[in-house]
Amino acid sequence: MKNNTIQEEALRDLQSIREMMQKTRHAINAAGTGQIMVLWGVVWLLGFGGSQFLEPSAAGTLWMVLDIAGAVGSMWFGARLGRKVQSYPGYRIGLWWLALLVYAGLIGWLVGIESQVEFDLFITLFVGLGYVLSGILLSRIVTWVGLGLTAVAILGYFLLPDWFSLWMAILGGGTLIGTGLWIIRHWR
C-alpha cells in the first residue's frame, strides 16, 4: 500500500518535470518562432503574389526587398529572445537557413533549372526541408509545417502549374501565418 503511494508520488514528480521542461521549451520558442513564422508567411503571400501578377523584373525586386525585411525582422525577434535566454544560438539558426538557401541556389544553378516555376518549386522544397529539419531539433509542429509546405508545393506544381505562385502565396503563406498564430496563442 505504502509502495503504491510512493510510486504515485514518483509518477507525479516525473509528470511535473516533463510539464516544466515542455513549458520552458515552448516559452523560449514562443519568444520568436511564431512571430518569425507569421512574418515569413506575409513575405510569401506578397512575394508569390508578386511573382504571379507582376513582370519578372518587378517581382524579383519585390522578392529582394521582402527577403531583406524578413531577415531584419527575424533578427529583431531573435534579439528579443536574447533578453530572456542568453547565448541562445539565434544567429546560428540564421546562418543555418542562409547556408541551406545558398546551397539550394547553387544546386539549382548547376543542374540548370530554367523555368521560373521550377526554380520557385525547387527553393520552396528546400524551405520545406529546412522546416522539417528544424522541427526535428525544436518541435514536432515545425516538422509538420515543413511537410505541409512540401505537399502544397508539389500539388500546386502538378495540378495548377500556371497558377503555382498564387497557389503558394495563399496556401504556403497561409500555412506559415496560420501556424505562427497558433504557436503565438498556444506556446505561452
Binding site: 510512493i6 511535473s16 521542461m21 516559452a27 535566454v85 542568453q86
Partner: protein
C-alpha cells in the same frame, strides 16, 4: 541504484531544475523569465536559487544591461548530473525496483 536527491526533491526546486536543465550548454536564463515560468515571487525564487547555488547545482550571475541589473542563472554540470540521477531514481521507483523498508 540511483538515489533521490533531498534538495531537488522539494517541488519548487524540482521545477526550477527542470526549467534550467532544459537549456542547452552555455545558455543562461533571465531571472524574471524564470520567475514568470514558475509563477513565483522574486523573494521565493531567490531563496530556492540560493539553496541550489550553495549545493553547487546552479550558478547565478548578476550583471548590468543598459545600466539595469540583470540576473542570469543556469544549471551547473554537477546540477545536471544530480538532476539526472534524481530522475533515474524516480523511474526506478515507478518500475518497482526500490521497495519501501
Amino acid at each position: 541504484m540511483p538515489q533521490l536527491d533531498d534538495l531537488i526533491h522539494q517541488p519548487t526546486r524540482l521545477r526550477i531544475m527542470a526549467a534550467l536543465v532544459s537549456l542547452g550548454d552555455g545558455e543562461k536564463m533571465d531571472f524574471t523569465f524564470l520567475q514568470n515560468l514558475l509563477g513565483l515571487t522574486p523573494g521565493n525564487l531567490s531563496i530556492h536559487l540560493q539553496k541550489l547555488e550553495e549545493a553547487g547545482y546552479v550558478s547565478v550571475e548578476k550583471t548590468f544591461v543598459n545600466r539595469r541589473p540583470k540576473t542570469w542563472s543556469w544549471a551547473t554540470k554537477a546540477g545536471r548530473a544530480a538532476f539526472a540521477e534524481h530522475v533515474n531514481a524516480l523511474e526506478a521507483i515507478i518500475r518497482g525496483e526500490v521497495k519501501d523498508e
